[in-house]
């Protein structure tokens, strides 16, 4: 057990300050968790102090130390490039055919940085403040401050790499405001910022591969973590082309394996994004923090039929000029929207939130859309008996600004919409619906980004630390690159300074155990020979998660979901049908392992949501709302990170709480009325 867990007394099971605890029967209370690495003192000095205190590793010794990095998106590629050039031996793994495919590439909007180039009152402190507030006071202030602090270095680094950010006529960088923020701090490369930043990190990584400091394993998937003598010492990976199960040993392991939004089946995540690397680490002792925190993005293209495999996000900037409405009367829902009279339209956001209107935060816009569709006033095709869509109407904007001006601003998004739906958004209102986009939960890490397993570090979306209960626009790219370029390389050296580590061989019991567990799992999937496809289980899991652990959760719904998921897991192991062999590319086999892990994660997400008897960020507990139906936080009871320890299959997970305290910022309730 790492020294970050204190020996304080566990709270008695089932009691929560004398209140009824919904989740009491589903978990075991554990010891509180403290992030022991966060430095004390003024917040502005903490990162500088930590960097100075972190021990150094002599360049000659770096060659003797080895690092495994799983995942090569913004966080993984930037970390691999940086640690490679520092002189360590780095091995990186990704499931795609090239690191350039990582899903960071799909981020559209931009990346925040406190450069204050517009002299509009921005500062490191303001970026920090906005981020903590936006996360509904459920993130760590020390981490967020550091993120804001290094944000400026990220822009310098990317520009030096040749990332073609938007520029003004004078040749200097342009900025825009984004995601409801009142200062212009977002750097962007048209609607493809994520792509350009990832290509920058990818090129830096390829440069190190050519230099021989980094070895790249593409089409490889981590299937198990090796924990030997209490430390993370390697991984078991499967070569997805040959099926070869490989052992890779190192002195330290970094997971940069992204988020798990695909637990919902339909999401904006890439098809291959999965939780396996993180979940296998969780089963080996890494705590999973705030797993129920999922960002639901309000402006996605709605589902068109049961064949749908994924959802496409459209930039939120559309809400600047589009007006959102549904028919007042259910009877009008299948009419051509152009034939519905003005007085028969319900511009519900403008009605309920007159001061913010269509620009209310993501969670409020999302939940309001779900509510009107649940009332039966949704529009678009009926899928499974319900119309899930609301209009995003540009008719007024086109009349006010002219078609050309609208095309200049949003043309590429309109084209994308037309391509996917076959409808022309210039003449018929667009239809949008919320979709799962990003997860704020992930493996618990301390200030050094180290998990509860010594030697296992976690970066980017795979960790939990920086976003709280909500993620603001343009802050995910910032976190990925901050972790990989500027944070991890400093904190990992403090750990590596303990090296050289005792070599372990492939015959070490921990290695043998991990390998055996992988080969047995593969063997199991290939021999069940049941009747249902892997995808059908994934889809069913997704429906349960969306219905009961999506935008709105209730005690009854979550308990029902847990029962359903347990039943689904049983059936999956008995009745899944995976054809083919291990010894060649077998996409069904790959998916089977991932879906098995998603099922276990889904159950934990529901237990976490059950425990969190408050509404915060996008996590609306039906039982916790104001008289007006707004989200109601309970800071007195829930200002903590929930960090879950695996206790075994069919065992209750153990809940460790890390209290969140704020010294540089005051906690406030949100109001968007």
């Amino acid at each position: 057990m790492p020294d970050t867990v204190t020996a304080a007394e566990a709270s008695p099971s089932g009691s929560l300050d004398g209140d009824y605890d919904d989740a009491a029967g589903y978990y075991t209370p554990g010891t509180p968790l403290v992030d022991g690495k966060a430095p004390e003192g003024p917040i502005a000095d903490r990162w500088q102090n930590r960097k100075f205190e972190a021990r150094l590793v002599n360049p000659a010794n770096r060659r003797k130390l080895s690092i495994i990095i799983v995942g090569t998106g913004l966080a993984g590629a930037s970390a691999a490039a940086t640690l490679g050039e520092a002189g360590y031996n780095v091995k990186t793994f990704c499931y795609q055919d090239s690191p350039r495919r990582a899903h960071s590439i799909a981020a559209q909007g931009g990346i925040n940085a406190a450069k204050n180039y517009k002299e509009d009152g921005d500062s490191v402190h303001r970026l920090f403040y906005d981020t903590v507030k936006g996360g509904d006071y459920r993130s760590r202030e020390s981490n967020v401050y550091r993120l804001a602090e290094v944000s400026t270095n990220i822009i310098d680094q990317c520009v030096a790499q040749g990332v073609p950010f938007a520029r003004e006529y004078g040749g200097l960088l342009d900025n825009r405001s984004f995601g409801g923020v009142q200062v212009s701090r977002t750097f962007y490369a048209r609607g493809q910022t994520g792509q350009q930043l990832l290509i920058g990190a990818y090129q830096a990584l390829e440069r190190q591969i050519a230099a021989g400091t980094v070895s790249m394993f593409t089409r490889h998937e981590m299937l198990e973590l090796i924990v030997a003598d209490g430390k993370a010492r390697g991984i078991i990976a499967r070569d997805m082309v040959t099926g070869e199960v490989q052992t890779h040993l190192a002195d330290v392991v970094v997971l940069a394996s992204g988020g798990y939004g695909n637990v919902f089946y339909l999401s904006t995540n890439a098809m291959g994004s999965n939780v396996t690397a993180a979940w296998r680490a969780h089963r080996k002792g890494a705590y999973m923090a705030n797993p129920c925190y999922t960002q639901i993005h309000p402006t996605c293209i709605p589902v068109s039929g049961s064949h749908q495999s994924k959802l496409t996000l459209m930039s939120e900037s559309l809400r600047n000029d589009g007006r959102i409405w549904v028919p007042k009367n259910q009877a009008d829902c299948d009419k051509d929207p152009r034939d519905i009279a003005e007085e028969d339209r319900d511009y519900y956001l403008e009605r309920i939130y007159p001061s913010f209107g269509n620009l209310v935060p993501r969670d409020i816009a999302s939940r309001a859309a779900k509510n009107v569709c649940d009332e039966g006033r949704g529009v678009g095709p009926e899928v499974d008996g319900v119309r899930r869509g609301v209009y995003l109407d540009f008719a007024d904007a086109i009349e006010r600004l002219g078609r050309d001006a609208v095309a200049n601003k949003y043309g590429n998004l309109f084209d994308m919409y037309a391509r996917i739906t076959g409808e022309d958004p210039y003449s018929v209102p667009m239809r949008i619906y919320p979709a799962v986009h990003y997860v704020m939960g992930g493996l618990w890490v301390d200030y050094d980004l180290q998990s509860t397993i010594p030697g296992l570090f976690v970066t980017g979306e795979a960790n939990f630390s920086d976003h709280g209960a909500n993620r603001l626009g343009a802050s995910a790219l910032m976190q990925g690159l901050a972790d990989g370029y500027f944070v991890l390389p400093h904190t990992i050296r403090d750990y590596l300074a303990d090296g050289p580590f005792e070599a372990i061989g492939e015959d070490h019991p921990a290695v043998v155990e991990a390998r055996t567990s992988v080969t047995e799992r593969i063997e199991h999937f290939l021999t069940v020979n049941g009747t249902r496809s892997v995808d059908s289980y994934h889809r069913e899991l997704g429906n349960i998660m969306w219905e009961y652990c999506g935008m709105e959760r209730t005690e009854t719904g979550l308990k029902k979901a847990i029962d359903l998921i347990r039943g689904l897991r049983d059936d999956f192991y008995r009745n899944v049908k995976v054809l083919g062999t291990n010894e060649s590319l077998n996409q069904s086999l790959e998916k089977a392992g991932r879906v098995a892990d998603f099922i276990e994660l889904g159950e934990l997400m529901c237990i976490d949501a059950l425990n969190r008897r408050e509404s915060c960020g996008g996590h609306f507990r039906g039982e916790s709302q104001t008289e007006d139906g707004e989200a109601l936080r309970h800071d007195d009871e829930f200002a903590y990170v929930s960090a879950w320890e695996w206790a075994g299959l069919d065992e209750r997970p153990v809940l460790h709480k890390e209290d969140l305290s704020y010294t540089a910022i005051e906690m406030k309730q949100r109001s968007y009325k």
Partner: protein, 247 residues
């Protein structure tokens, strides 16, 4: 819609492949091309036949992972990625032929999946700016004219899907290389390594077995990101100048 699908099946890199014919009913025009293949795969799985392997990941037209020859065209009849091609582009009763990318430098791994590792190796040969982390100057210290930055962005949008190679009768990757050489060549940050970059990338390209460019233009016609043909002229110009400089 009801469709007849003729699809290339090849169990692995060393086995011989062949076209197989499948019937698929009830295809919705709203499905993406890959969702149509998902549905076919569910049908094959039910029948106990190995599902067809194909690559896809983001399904938003940006990661570059997907790519099929559809009726002989890279990414099919429209200028887009395969994941953004929808079945409304086809007609009821149509026969659609689906093959993997055609190129010796992209060997087939299984069915419709090919190995595009050669693209990464071309980037390794010089498709980057050598800057170490933490040593970058202040971003505003190097202004870039807006027109150059915009044009650099336009060509930097290459997604590395390989459609240019698959469409080229010579199997040349000149459009892919030209996009990167032009992107970095337009920016002040890319100048110090400009000569070396183009020479090394072209050498790696030839080493990988890609063919020479004869300015046919099939690459740019197939490119889902509409990378213009003149990046190849820029590539040739940069190469000529580098050789003149003695590289």
């Amino acid at each position: 819609m009801n469709l007849t699908l003729k699809i290339w099946r090849q169990p692995d890199a060393v086995s011989a492949g062949a076209m197989h014919t499948y019937q698929l009913a009830d295809v919705s025009p709203d499905m993406s091309f890959l969702e149509m293949l998902d549905v076919l795969n569910e049908q094959l799985n039910d029948q106990g036949e190995d599902p067809i392997a194909f690559d896809s990941d983001c399904r938003e037209g940006i990661c570059g992972m997907c790519g099929l020859m559809i009726n002989g065209d890279a990414h099919g009849p429209e200028v887009t990625t395969t994941c953004q091609l929808h079945m409304r582009s086809f007609t009821d009763g149509e026969t659609i032929t689906i093959e993997p990318w055609r190129s010796d430098a992209f060997p087939v791994i299984k069915d419709l999946v090919v190995d595009r590792g050669a693209f990464d190796r071309i980037i390794q040969a010089g498709g980057y700016v050598s800057v170490n982390t933490g040593s970058a100057p202040e971003a505003h210290s190097v202004p870039v004219p807006k027109d150059d930055a915009d044009r650099a962005f336009n060509v930097a949008t290459c997604i590395g899907c390989g459609a240019c190679v698959a469409a080229c009768p010579n199997g040349s990757a000149s459009l892919f290389m030209g996009a990167k050489v032009t992107h970095l060549g337009l920016l002040p940050q890319g100048q110090p390594e400009r000569d070396e970059r183009v020479v090394n990338m072209v050498a790696q390209h030839d080493h990988e077995g890609f063919g020479g460019c004869t300015n046919i233009g099939a690459c740019t016609a197939a490119c889902p990101k509409e990378i213009p043909l003149d990046v190849i002229s820029q590539l040739n110009k940069d190469l000529r100048i580098a050789i003149k400089h003695g590289h």
